[in-house]
């Protein structure tokens, strides 16, 4: 449904996106993850037609309906809905008036426009606030209207750039429900975020970017299979731990200390935890807290790049 092929973009001789390819099919939510400065925003801007790629192409649609964004820009853009990270709605226009405007920009008019506006408002749970202005809304309601504005023309593809920034958990869940229902209706969704738990909850596939390139693209299950350890253990310890020495201990993977927090992957929690506590005690490190959990995308990124996902 949406395909980027070998996209490149440089600013001032510095490659921001380099040879990036990705694809999103209908009925799929693909997460685009990466630390700040990884090139996500530039990639999204090229996918939306906001900036031109130095080389490479973006295609929208399948088969005979396939359109190249740089050639048939208007046709291609009609099939894309964009949810910018910023609240891109007019605070002084009513909710329905906002959607009427954005629908008109995509060529909708008359009864069809009114019908689509009502449907989009209903989908995001704002049907009873149609006449109210967003300036009277909570942050979560504004975010939902922000998404509705991208849906009003019923696009096949939805590109969401960190759409839940600053949203309370209840509204976030409501947004996730909306997005999952869109996926179930066959829409293709590209979701950029740096919240790992969002990607884990929502995405069928994840594309991880770093330094303008795709580091990995796989299903969540596929990504976890790449991990040397499926469990993590976290401890609050005194002193500076010799993580290099700890890494040589059997069953301990990629230990990392950040202040008093010590984190490591473990293949077998039952065996590794007592061994780790013994190892720390033998070196004079008092342990104040211990917890364990499943490895996540953060660990995947760490495993693949040797770096942490920066906020």
């Amino acid at each position: 449904m949406l395909a980027a092929e070998r996209l490149c973009k440089s600013y001032g001789g510095r490659a921001v996106v380099a040879d990036l390819s990705l694809a999103v099919a209908g009925g799929e939510i693909v997460g685009l993850l990466g630390p700040n400065g990884a090139g996500k925003s530039t990639t999204v801007a090229m996918l939306c037609g906001l900036i031109a790629a130095d080389s490479g192409s973006v295609f929208v649609g399948d088969g005979a309906d396939r359109r190249q964004l740089s050639v048939d820009a208007h046709d291609a853009k009609r099939r894309i809905g964009v949810v910018p990270q910023e609240l891109s709605i007019y605070e002084n226009l009513g909710a329905a008036a906002n959607l009427m405007l954005f629908g008109a920009l995509y060529g909708l008019a008359g009864a069809l426009l009114r019908e689509r506006v009502a449907a989009a408002l209903a989908l995001v749970g704002l049907a009873d606030r149609a006449a109210d202005k967003p300036q009277q809304f909570s942050g979560g309601m504004k975010r939902r209207l922000n998404i509705a504005a991208a849906l009003v023309h019923d696009p096949d593809i939805l590109i969401l750039d960190e759409p839940t920034v600053g949203v309370d958990p209840q509204s976030r869940n409501a947004i996730f429900d909306n997005l999952e229902s869109l996926r179930d209706r066959g829409k293709a969704l590209l979701y950029t975020t740096h919240y790992m738990e969002e990607a884990e909850r929502l995405c069928d596939r994840v594309v991880i970017m770093d330094h303008g390139q795709v580091v990995v693209s796989d299903t969540l299950a596929g990504l976890y299979r790449r991990l040397p350890a499926v469990e993590t253990i976290e401890l609050e310890v005194d002193g500076v731990v010799d993580v290099a020495a700890l890494a040589r201990e059997p069953g301990i993977e990629r230990p990392l200390q950040d202040g008093s927090q010590l984190r490591a992957g473990v293949a077998d929690l039952g065996r590794a935890a007592p061994a780790l506590l013994t190892w720390l005690a033998a070196r004079g490190h008092a342990v104040h807290r211990i917890s364990s959990g499943r490895a996540g995308l953060e660990d995947v990124f760490l495993s693949l790049t040797g770096r942490q996902l920066r906020d």
Binding site: Y11, V16, G37, G39, K40, S41, T42, A45, C48, G49, L50, I51, A73, H74, D75, K77, R78, I80, V82, P84, Q85, E86, L87, S88, I89, Y90, N92, L93, A97, M100, L101, F102, A104, L105, Y106, G107, L108, A109, A149, A150
Partner: protein, 381 residues
Amino acid sequence: MNLAAFRALVRKDLVLYFSNRRALVMSILAPIVIAAFFGAVFGSGSEKPSRIPIALADRDASALSRAIVASIAAEPAFEVKNVDTEAAFALARQGKVRAAVVLPPGFAEQTRKALLAGGAKAVVEVRYDPSQATALALVRGLLAQHVMKALGDTIGGPGAAAFGLPFTTDDVASTAADRPYNGYAHAFAGMGVQFILFMGIEVGVGVLLARRMGLWKRLRAAPLSRTLLLGSHIASGAITAVVLLAIIYAAAIAIFHVRIDGSAVGFVAIAIAFALLTSSFGLLIAAIGKTPEATRGLAIFATLVMVMLGGAWVPSFVFPQWLQTASLAVPTRWAVDGLDAMTWRGLGIDAAVGPVVVLLAFAALFTAIAIWRFDWEEPRG
């Protein structure tokens, strides 16, 4: 062109502007109030011109000097204070009179000798307020006239009347339809131009704010051409400007009796051309501005310079000649002169052609620069 989208964008801009009641009231009330002030200050033909205050000290105390003092006191252009020399100089220094005139001792005798026997002329000391130097020429001229008249009266005899002016003038204000000059007409032209340009600034700053808020990104993600996006801003800005100008002039006509004595068609044409200039000016601001805050400050400064040079505050004919010529390169000069021509000067449509052509040319220039300089790329990241 997607006309539905164009209409929707224009309608959106108009709804947002006209629903902001506080800003709207200020956009309308401010020019009316300030124009009313300027109109009252610069006067109107229906009222008596303000009199020039002068101080007069008669140190000669002769029949001639007393006749001069009496003659000057009767002069309608003067408001005379008869005081001694020190008091006269003090009043001039304090700015309470435009000039202090001192008739010296022996003035009558010396003047007669100078006039009839070619002796040395008497020296009348005139101390004037340098901040009101333009009044000096008037004081000197009227003083000469009254001295000659008094000489004629006091010397007497055959031919004495020849000392007075050998002619009188018939003063007729050169306005339309024999109507007295209405100072409000120029004031409303000037303030209308100024505050509508301020509205143009808001058009430009609005685009910059939309960029900052991500709204511009969403608009650009829609299947819209650049021409349509920028064109909608020009259209909505121009419509807003025309509506504001119409409301401001409606108040001028209804309350201050300003009349469009010239061509109504010419007036409308100038209004539309100026409205297009305003919105293209706003677009230019959006194209070259960086942040809304800094851009607003610079744009207000640029606008104030333009309206000052354009004669919006004081008529351009009071400028030095070089500045009058230079100000022809400023579009506001053409807007103000054009509106003046169609209102109190009562000129025909041919007098509107020049301003309309120049204003449209500036609008085209501003639009071209805006399109050239507009940064279509989104922020990098």
